[in-house]
C-alpha cells in the first residue's frame, strides 16, 4: 500500500513519519512513533481507550485518519509526566485507586485533561459528561470521577 508522509507535533516534539494511506493515528503513534500509551480497545469508537488530544481537544486515535493530523499538535498520556514526576491528575488517579487493570486509564486521563484545561473547576456532572465516551469495566467510575475532582482541588466535592 502507498505510503504518505505526515508531520505533526507529538507531546511537543516535531515528528515526521511515513504512514500507510489508510492508517489510523493510533496505529501510527504505537507502531510508528513508539508511543504505546494510547491503547487499542475496540477500534470502533465505543471504548475511548485510544483518546488523544489533537490541538487540545479529545479525539479517538483509532478513528482518526493519520494523514489528517499533518501540522497539528498531538498529545498523549505518554507526554503527560515531566520525567519521573507525575502530574496532579496522575497522582490523584494513583492515590484514589482510579486505575485497576489500567487499560482505560490513558484515555481517561486525556479526557480528564481536556476537561480541566478548559474548565479547571468542573462540577461532578461535568466530569461525568467529560468521561462519558470512555468505558471502564473495573472501577464503576466513581473513583475516577472522585480523582478528577480531587485533581481540580475539589476533594470530596458533590
Amino acid at each position: 500500500m502507498a505510503q504518505t508522509p505526515v508531520r505533526f507535533t507529538l507531546n511537543g516534539r516535531e515528528t515526521g513519519l511515513f504512514v500507510e494511506e489508510a492508517a489510523n493515528l493510533l496505529d501510527v503513534l504505537r507502531r510508528g512513533a513508539g508511543d504505546i500509551s494510547p491503547k487499542y480497545g475496540c477500534g470502533q469508537g465505543t471504548c475511548g481507550a485510544c483518546t488523544v488530544l489533537i490541538d487540545g481537544a479529545p479525539h479517538l486515535g483509532c478513528l482518526t485518519l493519520a494523514a489528517t493530523v499533518e501540522g497539528r499538535e498531538v498529545r498523549t498520556t505518554g507526554g503527560m509526566a515531566d520525567g519521573p514526576g507525575l502530574t496532579a491528575l496522575q497522582t490523584a488517579f494513583m492515590e484514589g485507586f482510579a486505575a485497576q487493570c489500567g487499560f482505560c486509564t490513558p484515555g481517561m486521563l486525556m479526557a480528564a485533561k481536556a476537561l480541566l484545561d478548559r474548565n479547571p473547576q468542573p462540577t461532578r456532572d461535568e466530569v461525568i459528561e467529560a468521561i462519558s465516551g470512555n468505558l471502564c469495566r473495573c472501577t464503576g467510575y466513581e473513583p475516577i470521577v472522585d480523582a478528577i475532582l480531587a485533581a481540580s482541588g475539589q476533594r470530596g466535592a458533590a
Partner: protein
Amino acid sequence: MTTVRTLATVAEAVSERGHVLGGGTLLMREVNYRPETVTEILRITDASLKEIRIEMSRITLGAGVTMAAVAARAELAALAPSARSVGGPAIRNMATVGGNLFAPHPYGDFAAALLALDARVHWAGGREEEIESFLAGRDRASGLVTAVSFVPPARGGFRFRKVSRTKPKGVSLMSIAANLTLSGSRVERARIAFGAMGPTPLRAKAAETALEGKTLDEAGIARALTVATDGLAPPDDALASSWYRDRVAPVHLSRLLLERS
C-alpha cells in the same frame, strides 16, 4: 487516499471512487474492520464545508461542521441537545453534520432533528433536495453533500430527546424530534421525526396530522399517541426489539410533547 482541496474539483472524484471522509467515526471503523470495502478515501479540505451561516430566515450548516461546533454556537441552542446526544466528547469533536445524514441505524440522531426541521440537503454542483427524499434515497445516492439548511425553529418550538439504556452516553433505542408551531397552547403545525425507528430517520406523519389544531395537553395529544408509530418500521437489534420500540414510542412522545418549554 486522495485529498481534494476545492469543491470545484470534487464531483468527478466522488462519482468515480467512493468514500468521502467526514469525521471518520463511521468510515474509519470500516477501514479498521473491513478494509477491503474501502478502496479509496476522499478527503476534502475545502474550508466552506466547515462554515456555519446564521441568517434571520435560514441557517446553513456545512457538511464538515462537527457536533461539538453545533453545540458550541449560542445561535444554535435549540439544536444543541441533538448535537450533544451524539457519542461522547471525543466523537463530537470528530463527527460531522454530513456524516450523520448518512449514518445507518441506530445512529443518525442529529439527522432526525434535521428531518423535523424540514431541512434541505445541498449537493455539490448546486442541486438541493428535501431531507425526507434525501433520506429515502441516500443508500443509492452518488455525489457529495456540502451542507444542510433549515428555517430556524420558533422559540420554544423545537424539542428533542434521545432514549438510551445508559447515560449520559448510550446508543439510541430511539430519538424523537418535534418542531411545533404553537399559537398559545394550540398546535398550528407539527413535524415529528423519529430516529432509530426505521432504516433511516422517519417522520411520524399520522401523529403530526393528529396533533395539528389540538392543544398541547393530555387530552389534546391522545390521538397523536395512538398513531405515533404508524408508518414507522422499528427494527429488532441488540438494544431493543421492534415490539418494545413500538410499545414505548408513544410514552416517550408523550413526555416530549408535554415537557415545559
